[in-house]
Symmetry: C2
Subunit: 371 residues, 2 copies
């Protein structure tokens, strides 16, 4: 298949596999797409090790990396930054999370120190080292999942000939990214897992394509099969950016207890909720969301306060769910799009990649015979 | 273009134009698609006149009709039925609507008697006469926008060789309709105008196609251009069911004040709200929705109580908006999907129809050249 994306990146098929597991990234790249590592939460040393491992697997084939980079970073002493964030989390919120874990028979979290760990992992002092690691590797693209990339990131991409990719959920955000000079846009519809807006892929993609001119646009949200990939190409996308589908792969590192819930879920079992990251993010509906929606429950805090508050709680919930704790299984959830309803079994990521590409080709052949 | 829909209905292109204006219905049919009249709110005599007028325009070409038919109808004295509904609307709600109109300088509505009129228009005593009128005409399909059709409707369709069509927003509802024996399914995604579920078209359509077997499935929601039509065919749909796009046509009878707001709106300016019909329906976001969301505002009532409550208020809002009342313009709204963001000007419905079909063919040609 030839599109603006395959030309730009030198890949066989315009299929991006976005996942936090290096095993998925390598498998997608080796099966004819391009894997992109979601590198949030790594130290620079960890990221370096992961990218080195991926390169050992892919034999020179292209892969990419996604780093969570705020457009403006705080300056000054990291300890002051942490203390100022911590001071913004009300005691009521700590108490609510503690009582929620207790209600579901889950060992209490040491929430405060875990919050520090989370804040540090996305804090200002780690961004430049992470970007340095990413650009020191042979990456075919660098994506930024958080707003507009800082100018330094765009300049580095231009200097190194590495396309900078931005995810957008509205035409307004797309225009802002185009004005900044990004090289590739991912137009992500509301049906996607993780942070999303309200506009559906079917509507958003052609709007962004029309704005973007010569800048290639990938479709994201609701794409887990070849038919959906063909539909995205019909909308004018130069390719697809798939995230959720890899959570049905063996290589994905999501907790087995959560993956079991995914296999049982229908397409109606997700919701957009700010209770995990402080921004609306699509995830599997669970008892967690019912608890936050109860009258008397506190309102979720903005990012990064909400993930500081709940990060360690989620670690405990996942551990307890894997150990068979029924309360934890009821709470268990993760970011996932509406395509979760199509998950039937866990499969190798390479098989998923090949099936999407084959089915896309079949759909294109079927369409050619309609006229 | 040849699909299961064009074969079933004997039409040139698999494009359904769904609208409450007979002028739109005739224009779509004459331009190579098939128009379907949304017949809600008509008396049997009015419906008969509208269908007769359409037939005079279309020179034997096929068209359809959509009637709002509840699966179970109340029996007994219509006056008792009305009185029992009226008794379920709290005085607090009447007072809220009155105060809302007063706040925006709109003449007060005689809400109670208008509610009776609305209830009567969808009440049990009118359903059978409406269906009799529909089947007495040369209709190519009869659709039911409200849940599963009653068995008598399906039997009449079978006897007359008229396909019965049902709209669904989830795989579960699709299965229920298939079990009832409907002839055509419309899988309508959350981005659609009017009553919708939460699942996006990109995800819902392939799910329903896989359930439906030999029953053709049309895609609805987010489809206003040829690219979106081609994408729907890629998803496995046998055609598309377009509703919102006709609200950008000259022939559509929506208030000019509302159509002016549509032309200025973006794809992010809609919301799903139960404040108009009692069920979640996508519509243009306006001051109306802010007022209902205010703390202290009453909760919307279930269908048909909410439309009984607000039907006359909406008539007054539209009249006042057309007369230039600024408060009414702020409140003005109507059912519309996320495609409203693509409206640039009002055009003849025939031009819209032809452009969708031409652009769909162009998209199919473009796709054929990708491989």
């Amino acid at each position: 298949m030839r599109t603006a994306l395959t030309e730009l990146l030198g890949i066989e098929n315009p299929l991006v596999g976005f996942n936090r597991s290096p095993g998925v990234v390598a498998a997608v790249t080796n099966a004819g797409g391009i894997g992109v590592l979601a590198a949030t939460g790594y130290t620079p040393e960890e990221l370096d090790a992961q990218l080195t491992w991926i390169e050992e697997q892919v034999d020179g084939r292209p892969y990419g990396v996604d780093v969570l980079v705020p457009a403006r970073t705080a300056t000054g002493d990291p300890a002051d930054y942490l203390a100022s964030l911590r001071a913004q989390i009300p005691q009521e919120h700590y108490d609510f999370v503690d009582s929620l874990l207790a209600k579901y028979d889950i060992p209490l979290a040491d929430t405060a120190s875990a919050g520090d760990r989370f804040a540090a992992s996305v804090g200002p002092e780690i961004v430049q080292p992470l970007l340095d690691v990413a650009f020191s590797h042979r990456v075919a693209l660098v994506a930024n999942a958080l707003g507009t990339p800082p100018p330094a990131m765009l300049e580095r991409g231009k200097a190194d000939g590495v396309p900078i990719v931005a995810l957008v959920g509205s035409p307004k955000h797309a225009q802002r990214q185009l004005d900044m000079g990004v090289d590739l846009l991912v137009a992500q519809g509301t049906e996607a897992g993780g942070h999303t807006g309200t506009i559906a892929t079917m509507v958003l993609v052609p709007e962004v394509v029309d704005l973007a001119g010569d800048v290639p646009v990938l479709a994201a949200g609701g794409i887990a099969t070849g038919r959906q990939m063909a539909a995205s190409l019909a909308l004018g996308a130069a390719g697809v950016w798939c995230g959720s589908v890899w959570l049905s792969s063996h290589e994905d590192i999501t907790s087995p207890a959560v993956k079991a819930k995914f296999l049982a879920a229908t397409s109606g079992d997700t919701l957009r909720s700010p209770t995990r990251t402080g921004k609306p993010a699509r995830q599997l509906r669970s008892a967690w969301h019912e608890e936050w929606a109860n009258p008397g429950s506190p309102s979720p805090l903005p990012m990064p306060l909400q993930p500081m508050l709940v990060d360690e709680a989620w670690r405990r919930i996942n551990q307890a769910a894997e150990a068979g704790n029924d309360g934890a299984k009821a709470l268990a959830s993760f970011f996932i799009g509406q395509v979760v309803g199509t998950f039937r079994e866990l499969r190798p990521a390479a098989d998923i990649t090949r099936e999407i590409i084959e089915d896309c080709n079949k759909a294109l052949t079927r369409l050619a015979n309609l006229t």
